[in-house]
Amino acid sequence: MNLSVLMPVFALMTSLLASVVLFALPEKGHRLRTIINLAAAILKIALVGVMIWGVAQGCKYEAAFTMLPGVEFVLRADALSMLFAGLSALLWLLTTIYAVGYLEDSPNRSRFFGFFSLCVASTMGIALAGNLFTFFLFYEMLTLSTYPLVVHRGTTKALRAGRNYIIYTLTGGAVLLFAIAWLHGLVGDLRFQEGGYFSDIAPSMRGPLAIIFVLMMVGLGVKAALVPFHGWLPQAMVAPAPVSALLHAVAVVKAGAFGIIRVVFEIYGLEAAKDMGLLAGLSVVAAFTIIYGSTRALYQVDLKRRLAFSTVSQVSYIVLGLCLLGPVGVAGGLVHLVHQGIMKITLFFCAGNYAETLGVHRIDELDGAGKRMPGTSVAFTLGAFGMIGAPPLAGFITKWTMGSGALAVGMDWVVAVLVISSLLNAAYFLPILHRLWFAEQCEPWPHERRWGRLETSAWLLWPPLITAALMLVAGLIANLPFSPLSWAELIVAREVAL
């Protein structure tokens, strides 16, 4: 048991143990709970940071044991998993800070934070999973641990959203399980491997493998909110803002997208998937989702619902990026995993701030909010521009990289998709910004609360500001080592032999 085995286990355990401890804490122990939460989150960032450094140096972190005959439980840190683990560790801390402020004076905090940590633990497990089986294990754990968060409010609406969420995700999980079991029956236990396994597969295997691929995409597509499996996502926004933030930025939708990346890269292999003609279909679905999500977002009057449809659209960028069979485009898709997370979490934080501070939920109530809440509104503005893909924000880096990648491999239509989507993004975000900054407030805020000197509670204000800054930084220093883009390029260089 040397350190390289223990590191991934520790990284997983920080949030898992935190969750257990949090469940056991009495409801009244607010201060202690906050301390434990933050300490665990910071510890995890440190652990992940060390692993990122190690992976960059070429170290291997792996822990494995046999769970069932022929099936291993594998935790492994490679470049790809660090991309996701880094994101989730970082955003966990910020979301925790936010949630502490958001849930001040509300009941059931012990339960909330327990499941919250569990949810992050699942995300970490998904990131570190070393084979499909382990991946599935945490994938389902994520489903379960997010349900209590979605229905946290206990209202009829929340319960209905929770029910739909669970129907979608569990059904998707069943399909995925079927596909994984079938694949396991065909070829045995496959660890994720750079370049995949099926580059020189016998022609007779192609049929079943193609079907399995489709099934996996369906199973993973539910969480990744690919059309037509996206129905749960806009409903799930009834959850408290930190949950929506986590759901949309790191946990659920990203788990789906990350799974798709793993399957395409490290089970099938990009070349093989392309040869079997699987990626063409996937790219069309992703492109359709991008346009569809943006179009639907245009017609939403509820702020969080609009953001939710925007997520539907944005997550498919990641999938679309994978289908661009060149190193540049693939890196663009990968980097969006991080970028979208930072941007979307900023937006949801801000939406939560408006709701919590002013009682504003609908877009037409936002008139003049920029004057009342400048910090939040600055963060929102940056997030919105990031989504539109305006430089020099993170979203621009994604769009630029994906666009170049698409052109490099002659998939020009992807550029058209990107442009149309950007236009639609602009069409549904810019009016909000206009309301924030340039419209005069005409009626009093629905439920205003005051927090002394600051526009809102400091716990609520800092996280969006930090994520907004991160988004700016991720764009500005995209060319430096350890920036998301450089890391994505590192992954591509290591993992995908193109």
């Binding site: 069932l68 005959p69 389902e140």
Partner: protein, 488 residues
């Protein structure tokens, strides 16, 4: 050494039973605590012995059955013995706090409890068809007694119904045993197996096999013979329900499985295997659906047992006419399903008991707001539910995975649909309970808090069923000598 341990497992529970019969509730409780400790230690000892020496067959008193008692222990039996010790200990402990010492009839709980345990061990360790029958009867009678305990009209009605079913099942089984005995003159399962495989398939022996299986299936509450189970399990006290669902129905299944694995290859047929599989599947679907529709919490859990037991019968098609490897996979899967269901269902019933106790109503929709006041029990219930749904990393998932693999490998892909749909349906009824508990804004703010140990016990069981998936490999290695090896 092994012999003494086995004898101890069989006979000491009878001793505890007699002892507690003579004592009142509180004293019986103390005796039971002591007895539980002893039984657990002996069970562990048996495990250690088998682990070091391997399987063991003994003819008690030197006579052949039916006069003597043939005992046999292998990895699988040890697994079940340990499981029994674990679950029974938990239920006994729970009952010792849960039951009201002031009610006079509760003093009979302890003797019945010990008779039940003795019967269970007799079934696990029995090597001949007749003695297994005796064990089975002991179990049935004790179980009926436990259900009837408390004496209200509903309980009595359910108990009578249960008794009828049990007797009918026993009758069918006994008839089959008699026919076998008439043919071979021996009741030793090993002996019969030898004779059958040497003498070739004889068509007239299929009937006794079917008869025995039918009887056992009735006792196991296989669809469509499940009608007696939900009322009995639903009405009984929670620790009793837990015992019944976790262990009692498994006993008859255990015998059926042994019969099938030893004799089914020669005497059974593809159609029979598929038929049983289809009935199991229907049980999964129908049971889950009914569980979803129940208004009372314990009825939900009881119908869930009907559904979960359905999975077990997939053993029959998945081990008939397939290679040894696939058969072994299926057996491992079923074993895991038995173990994980036992743990999970026990946890669920105990937790449900706590929930009902605290809200003062047994209806599902009375649970509104419980998640704020009783998260611990609810959490146990939830964890157990996760295992029932067959979601990772629980034992239920490991079982489902193995069964999926076995179905795929044997080409019987149609069971996949059952396994997957069953998981989703169980999610439906489990989440219905969660959902109810998450509803806020309730006006009933009166919650009774059960004692800490009542809450801890189901949690331990639930965690075990959860962890089973992670340590499935070592658990399966305990039963490294599966059914087949035992017969030869």
């Amino acid at each position: 050494m092994t012999l003494w341990l086995m004898a101890g497992l069989l006979f000491t529970p009878l001793a505890w039973a007699v002892l507690t019969l003579l004592l009142d509730f509180s004293k019986g409780r103390v005796v039971t605590w002591l007895g539980i400790l002893v039984q657990v230690l002996v069970s562990l000892g048996l495990w250690a012995a088998v682990a070091s020496d391997g399987e063991f067959l003994y003819l008690l008193g030197g006579w052949q059955a039916p006069m003597g008692i043939e005992l046999r222990v292998d990895g699988l039996a040890v697994t079940f013995v340990l499981l029994t010790a674990l679950v029974a200990a938990a239920c006994g402990w729970h009952a010792s706090i849960y039951l009201d010492p002031d009610k006079p009839w509760n003093r009979y709980f302890w003797p019945l409890f010990w008779f039940l345990w003795a019967g269970l061990n007799a079934v696990w360790l029995g090597g001949d068809l007749f003695n297994v029958y005796v064990g089975l009867e002991l179990i049935s009678l004790a179980a009926v007694g436990l259900v009837a305990l408390g004496g209200q009209a509903d309980a009595l009605r359910a108990a009578i119904r249960y008794l009828m079913a049990a007797l009918l099942g026993s009758l069918a089984y006994l008839l089959g045993v008699a026919l076998i005995y008439g043919q071979f003159g021996t009741l030793s399962l090993a002996g019969v197996t030898d004779l059958v495989s040497n003498g070739g398939a004889q068509s007239n022996l299929t009937f006794p096999l079917i008869l025995m299986l039918l009887g056992l299936a009735l006792k196991t509450a296989l669809f469509p013979m499940h009608g007696w189970l939900p009322p009995a399990h639903g009405i009984a006290k929670s620790p009793v329900s837990a015992l019944l669902s976790a262990l009692v129905v498994k006993a008859s299944f255990y015998i059926a499985a042994r019969l099938w694995l030893d004799l089914g290859g020669d005497l059974g047929g593809y159609a029979l295997a598929q038929l049983i599989g289809v009935l199991g599947s229907l049980a999964v679907i129908w049971g889950s659906w009914l569980a979803f529709r129940q208004a009372k919490l314990k009825q939900v859990v009881a119908y869930s047992s009907v559904a979960q037991i359905g999975y077990l019968f997939l053993l029959f098609p998945l081990t008939w006419g397939v290679t040894d490897a696939i058969s072994q996979q299926a057996q491992q899967g079923i074993t895991l399903q038995v173990v994980s269901h036992a743990l999970a269902k026990a946890a669920m019933f105990l937790a449900a008991g706590n929930l009902i106790m605290s809200v003062g109503s047994n209806r599902v929709d009375a649970l509104a707001g419980v998640s704020r006041f009783l998260p611990f029990s609810l959490f146990s219930f939830g964890l157990a539910g996760v295992s029932l749904m067959g979601l990772p990393p629980t034992g239920g998932f490991a079982a489902k995975w193995l069964l999926l693999q076995a179905s795929l490998a044997s080409g019987q892909w149609w069971w996949l649909g059952v396994l997957l749909a069953g998981g989703l349906l169980s999610a439906a009824y489990v989440f219905r309970v969660y959902r109810a508990s998450f509803i806020e804004a309730t006006d009933t703010d009166q919650f009774y808090h059960p004692s800490r140990s009542l809450e801890v016990i189901p949690m331990i069981l639930a965690l075990l069923s959860l962890g089973l998936g992670l340590v499935a490999e070592p658990v399966l290695s305990v039963m490294s000598l599966p059914f087949e090896g035992a017969g030869s």
